[in-house]
Symmetry: D2
Subunit: 337 residues, 4 copies
């Protein structure tokens, strides 16, 4: 594997700033090498907090900065086409927040430019494909044990919409996720769309037709429905149920993956502690590294190690001799308070 990847982040609004934080504090093997934003003050403030990171107001300048190996585009959609073309000029790999561009005509131009480059450089930020539940669902479909997918039911619910949210955004910003997920899960293009509109909820802002039922037909003859419901009031919920020839599988209702198959509903049980506690091991390590870099100690102490050792000794005696065994514990030093 090559050295640490230097990333230029284009756009430092809500999503961009969050990606900067992620690259800096969460991701292994990457660093933020440059940031660009039209807001010169904001971008400088961000760059100042990161060692070896330069600030720019011009995206192309950020891409040309020292140590930049790759580009992350998180600017507003209308700025994507220009940023993508600039990245192509520097022949840099790109992670581009969705949408690729707003509209299929501009997207086609990007496709053509990338093809002229002669090799693929773009990944689009459809992050649901990295969600553990969707990944499990796709893996199960790929085993073929459920047979061919016939239908896909989706629920997409938000607590409430921000000011200015329109019915078009309901499709372009929200249902777009189910479009990508449908294409990815089923491996088929979408061929037709129908929209049914109930009387709007009393919670929907004036003029917003919410909720809606959006229907897709796919090239392989599957039928897909999406409840898009962005002022549901009670929470954020994303659910999907694939109906196949020999069973169904659903995600998103609290359990990780629930199937109906051969007379039984339910899910799988982990077979190993690494499966169950892998995340806990990762989090423990990150927490220890973070605290240590800050010069702190935050986790279970040597006292905790001692106290469990004393309880183990009582436990083994209780196991071997029967009856109730009292635990003998030294007095806890204030040092470990």
């Amino acid at each position: 594997m090559a050295g640490v990847l230097g990333v230029a982040v284009i756009g430092t609004g809500r999503m961009g700033a969050d990606h900067v934080r992620r690259l800096h504090e969460v991701t292994s093997g990457a660093r933020v090498a440059a940031v660009a934003d039209v807001d010169a003050e904001r971008v400088k403030r961000i760059a100042d907090g990161i060692e070896g990171c330069s600030a720019h107001t011009d995206p192309a300048a950020a891409m040309a900065a020292d140590g930049v190996d790759a580009v992350l585009i998180a600017s507003p959609g209308p700025a994507h086409e220009a940023a993508l073309l600039a990245a192509f000029e520097h022949d840099l790999p790109v992670l581009c927040e969705k949408p690729l561009t707003p509209g299929s005509a501009s997207a086609l131009r990007v496709l053509e430019a990338e093809q002229r480059l002669g090799h693929r450089r773009v990944q689009v930020g459809f992050m649901r494909r990295y969600d553990a539940e969707y990944v499990k669902l796709k893996s199960l479909l790929e085993t073929g044990q459920l047979g061919r997918p016939l239908m896909l039911h989706n629920r997409h619910r938000n607590v409430a919409t921000p000011p200015g949210f329109t019915s078009e955004m309901l499709i372009n910003d929200s249902v777009v996720h189910e479009m990508d997920i449908t294409r990815w899960l089923l491996g088929q293009e979408i061929t037709a769309v129908t929209v049914l509109k109930p009387t709007p909820s009393g919670n929907a802002p004036e003029g917003l037709q919410d909720p809606q039922l959006v229907l897709f037909e796919t090239a392989g003859g599957a039928v897909v429905d999406v409840e898009i419901n962005v002022n549901c009031g009670f929470g954020y919920q994303v659910q999907a149920e694939v109906v196949c020839e020999r069973g169904t599988a659903r995600i998103g209702d609290g359990h990780s993956l629930v199937t109906n198959m051969a007379g039984r509903w339910g899910g799988t049980i982990a077979q190993d502690f690494t499966e169950r506690f892998e995340d806990a091991y990762d989090r423990q390590m990150q927490a220890w590294v973070d605290a240590t870099r800050r010069g702190e100690i935050t986790g279970p102490s040597a006292w905790d190690g001692y106290a469990t050792a004393a309880v183990c000794e009582a436990g083994v005696r209780a196991q071997q001799e029967g009856g109730r065994v009292e635990v003998e514990l030294a007095k806890r030093p204030p040092f470990y308070a």
Copy 2:
């Protein structure tokens, strides 16, 4: 925050090798600076795969190596005391795999040495405290809305034991986790232990008394039961249910946290997409960085960006004009096959 943390990993068996991988590929802000193992060949092979990592057969030499800021002890339990004392000599922060030491007498000696050092240096690897479900359970208890904990029911099930597993290990290696979790969740020391032993399962190896029901009493008057069942055959399960004065809360049965309170059972719903998809964003970034460092493109392509844009256009028309709208899609270039 200081620079990247250089870690010396002591012991490169199963757990140690996994921690090396974790520090190298998953954790942000850390690197493996040195490794030590009695197996000189193994430790050299591991060090060779990591830039700037030195190999040692003596733990103390690893701790003294260039660039070492902290120590991770993953050697067998009987070697922990010496490794901890060596780390104290170098005044290095330590993450020590459980057990701190095998036995309370040696653990007490470590406590005393750390106190002589004058500041805390040791974190013990009770990683369940970093599990998202246990963390939620503890957070809920700390709000006080359930009242004081009265009982704690635990299930700890393994598919099968490895050869050589003894009844003592059932306490020292398995139930030790519930001992730590009990102390941490309730914030109370354990004062007495009782063990009940049903007729062993036919799946238990000859001589192993499995399963057992282990009971703790705590300093605050709570009663805790642990089903330890390490040849259950069907999977790995860790469940906990706290019974409090005004309700109960349980984790580990597939749902993340389920409560009984005020006439209702159930759980909370995420309020925001960041809560629901935070991990997906993190995994997307790590996958993109990893693939890019390997010179590959693995995620959703520009074609996916284009195709969803075309479906969005059909969707908005269907929404505005009613009826069924066909999607117009360019022919897919082999470049994106």
Copy 3:
């Protein structure tokens, strides 16, 4: 309340015979007074098994028989209109299996005849309205706490269709239940229907378009979808989820009623043993009465009463004195083997 209700059962095929059994063995306060069927032998065999029940091949004759107070129509659909008109002539209350009649024109004639009678006499056998889960769902909607219903999602799955099942029967025999449930739950008429047909499942018999997605619009502006999937292979499932302005409520997935409301998912907990065990009390009584009438004893014996009394005595001592108390039990007499 009046005396025992004498019922004439018209039609003794699968449904009719089951209703005869139900009236005879399950229902309190009713008896089968007459049965009618075109199959003279079958109807005689059924009548012979029931004290005071006469056999007929003419429905009208059965309705005129001694002791008949009411009529249950379970003959094939095309025979319903004549049987209903005959019941009107005798001015008898009728429970008529669905469909009322096959087709809206004949149904309109029945409506007119009932109105000429001057009072209502007909109940149609839409039995889902008596399902405990649907009843709970409707009760919840009627409280108004979820707000106005916006959408209703339905799943209707059968393992496999019998020979001769057609696409029309999919609507007339299967989806008809969701039509009634939609009208009943929402209290609104259905105003339009759309049907989407995926490529049929490989499990569907040649010529049967299965599954389908059926969409209703209602007079109050709600949108309803029904997955009708009658060769799903894995089981019989009927699920419904109502999406309202302030939350959702669903039934049919194992739990009795699960809601999403105000940041929480889940259900209610019984508040009283009568709620939890009402059915057990009813079944205990029926089992005791049935066994006693057969001259048998089948339930928990006096020995069971004695043995629990002895365990209670040990339990109270253990509670009062602490420690482990052995149960003292007399030798079990062979009489109670």
Copy 4:
């Protein structure tokens, strides 16, 4: 089957009055022939409401009354022994509310009297054996697919105790159910009892040690724990989980029966509409009979039959012709308002 069973009900307090109602309104094939209670006024009022039912203050007189074929004892526990012996004198079958008698010495005397009678006459009212979930759990255990039971975990929770509830009653009135269920599910006698008592809940009345953890050992070497928690505040819950050699099975947490087996958790799906809707059919019939006897019509009307027929016609057209089909519905007559 013999004629309708005439039952003498001894004791018409809360439980007795409820049994009278059940025999009168719910149970098929039985009638209340006599009632006895020390409260002459109450017993007369009850008898007056039931045709052919005589009122008594002496239990033996009720048993000797005309038309009595069997006895139901629902008087206070201390009166059970005398009532049972009186029933034996009349050689009548008895359903006796739990406890058989209060105490094992008196229970032994009843056993001896029944043995002298030469045939069994007594069924004890341990009604949990008739609960659908416990029945499924026992059926599953009897298939042997889970292997031998090793442990049984129970939760028994009440909202709050009535005034005067004592720690002894916790065992004798509450845990007695788990004693019976343990003996019945496992088919083994209980051999020893241990009780652990946490610091009482703040919700427990002064002097009541609540909750408690009660442990049973059985003749076959199983270990059983019972959380008895009768002031839990949030609801009435009865849960049981059997831990066997090859899997576990639990009831009482909302789903009907959930197992862990061979890498999967979950439950079974009904295979047939009769399994799913059997209760709905029974309730529909009882509701129709009850309403008809009152001279009322309460269920779906002929209008409902007509309206669904019209929707079916639109549905079949939509299915055959494609697109959206409007439903043509006659104007609803006020007669069906």
